[in-house]
Symmetry: C2
Amino acid sequence: MKVEKYRVPSKGKISLKDFDPNETALFDGSKKDGVEALVEINADIEKLQEQLYAEGKHKLLVVLQATDTGGKDGTIRAVFEHVNPQGVKVASFKVPSSVELAHDYLWRIHQQVPAKGEIVIFNRSHYEDVLAVRVHGLAPEKVWSKRYEHIKDFERMLTDEGTTILKFFLHIDENEQAERLLARVEDRTKQWKFSPGDLEERKLWKEYQAAFEDMVNKTSMDWAPWYVVPSNKKWYRNLVIAQIVRDTLKGFEMTYPTPVENLEQYRTLLKGMIASE
Amino acid sequence: MKVEKYRVPSKGKISLKDFDPNETALFDGSKKDGVEALVEINADIEKLQEQLYAEGKHKLLVVLQATDTGGKDGTIRAVFEHVNPQGVKVASFKVPSSVELAHDYLWRIHQQVPAKGEIVIFNRSHYEDVLAVRVHGLAPEKVWSKRYEHIKDFERMLTDEGTTILKFFLHIDENEQAERLLARVEDRTKQWKFSPGDLEERKLWKEYQAAFEDMVNKTSMDWAPWYVVPSNKKWYRNLVIAQIVRDTLKGFEMTYPTPVENLEQYRTLLKGMIASE
């Protein structure tokens, strides 16, 4: 898969309209084949994560942004569910608390960045501060417009200090959102998730798309790229993201830490202990 | 499975010697059958955890304690690996940092307790402060001996405020530990985990067993019971713990949150949106 196709270049501008949320162009096969391919990639990620944890050297930050129903939760489940929960953390950023609001917007974010050997997934992120905040006018333009630079500086610092950052915008269209909201309303186990507020947010679709477009254009850097992932088809979305995560982990070319010296001596010692008991 | 067998009563005293780490008495079947049974329980836990998260009412704290190689990491992987990483957190308590040491021993623990809708697994815990601290004399007896009462008070408060606490002592014997250390030394991908310090700790086996025995006797309460889980056989250990976790979650008798009123009206509205696009 030539996933570079979905990567937003650090120079120039893309238009979200040129990205088809329905496409499955990079995978040559059916949905069933795609689901099977994911199983294999999942197994790779599972193994690579164990190595990441063992080596304790790299830090991986995965940022997920999308409109409501865009599939952030589903992506986390599909891509990371089989990974050892010990090495993977999910940080969900909801409406900020009063303490969080009393600080700068990066304060609560910084507390959750990955440590060595960890994968952290941001379910929403600091980007809400140039998305919801902008669309709802929660801060004036002269405040939020400066944030793109802050964010770039912040992510530059994180990467200089050893963090690898992957950012995924899950791209769905308006019709797909209506279908997903309807599915919620029709499924007894999901009805509780539906709020009339979802329909109010939906009226701001164009404003959100403009904010997403600015976000990816202004903050896709070589050291922290954005990917616009076609996400109408969930299986394809999972496949694209899982592959990028897998390939990124592979690229670390990890090795296990060096064992202590004289391992053979301890081997003999331990064998003696077992025999003698 | 009558897991009550492994539950330490809140009154009276048990002796660890009466618990056989090798036994598989509560499961009528082979290891293969046990592994298959676990798959089913895992699927139950996965569904129940989704409900826990949806309902956002209960908080579940799972405490794991054991000697080195006792199987804490393996238990976490086997019992919780298939659960949505969004609702499950693992808190690993290692050697305290200087900031942590500058506070009381419950300070770092309290920060990690579960919120509503969450499962948190403690990989080691506040109990290290009556285990390693006691065995190595890191604090005098007059200090650590008061901690059993603190811990009971602390856990009482947590449960009064809505947390359910399950505590598992993974019980292996000395011979099994030698075999597991040997397996580490012989597996290229695990050699890095082996430290000569493990053999030093092993010399304190009796002291640790005495500390474990005091721990379960002094702090197994009706509201926060200890289970002594036979753990020489990993598949059996996983099965016992998974079942207790599953049954505890089931006991919450959870329901999905009530959906908004007039759901039918939104259904029609959404259908119109899909048709019109």
